[in-house]
Subunit: 84 residues, 2 copies
Amino acid sequence: MPNFSATVSVTLKTTVNDPEGLTIASALHSLEFEDVQTVRVGKIFTITLQSSTKKSAEQQVDEMCKRLLANPVIETYSFKVVKN
Amino acid sequence: MPNFSATVSVTLKTTVNDPEGLTIASALHSLEFEDVQTVRVGKIFTITLQSSTKKSAEQQVDEMCKRLLANPVIETYSFKVVKN
């Protein structure tokens, strides 16, 4: 089966408070990056998987996001699958 | 000054062990995603900042990566700046 590589971004919903992002913004201000307005932090997963077609790889990755990688209550996700 | 939005990805170098990724790969196998081969985990930062030009925004973000966001010993970074 061909190999695919998926890049999944999981970020907090905009309505959810992000203390890590606030801390980083404050640290950037201390380092004299005063033009920084907001910082939001998320996770990125790079997954390699085998699949018969690109469509089935995308379906699998979507399922992984729903079941493990993202918490749908507070997070949103997006991903891109490319053939290796 | 115009607003820019930067998306910064910080990932572990491929030679660096990623125990979080290994744990997630193992969890995905347990959830019957048996075609998953490897998982690598990184961070994504979404930064909004003011800057006079796109070029100066990119220079600022590059500087932020070097000084705070990434650890150059074990991590690599990439970013994309777009005008809001």
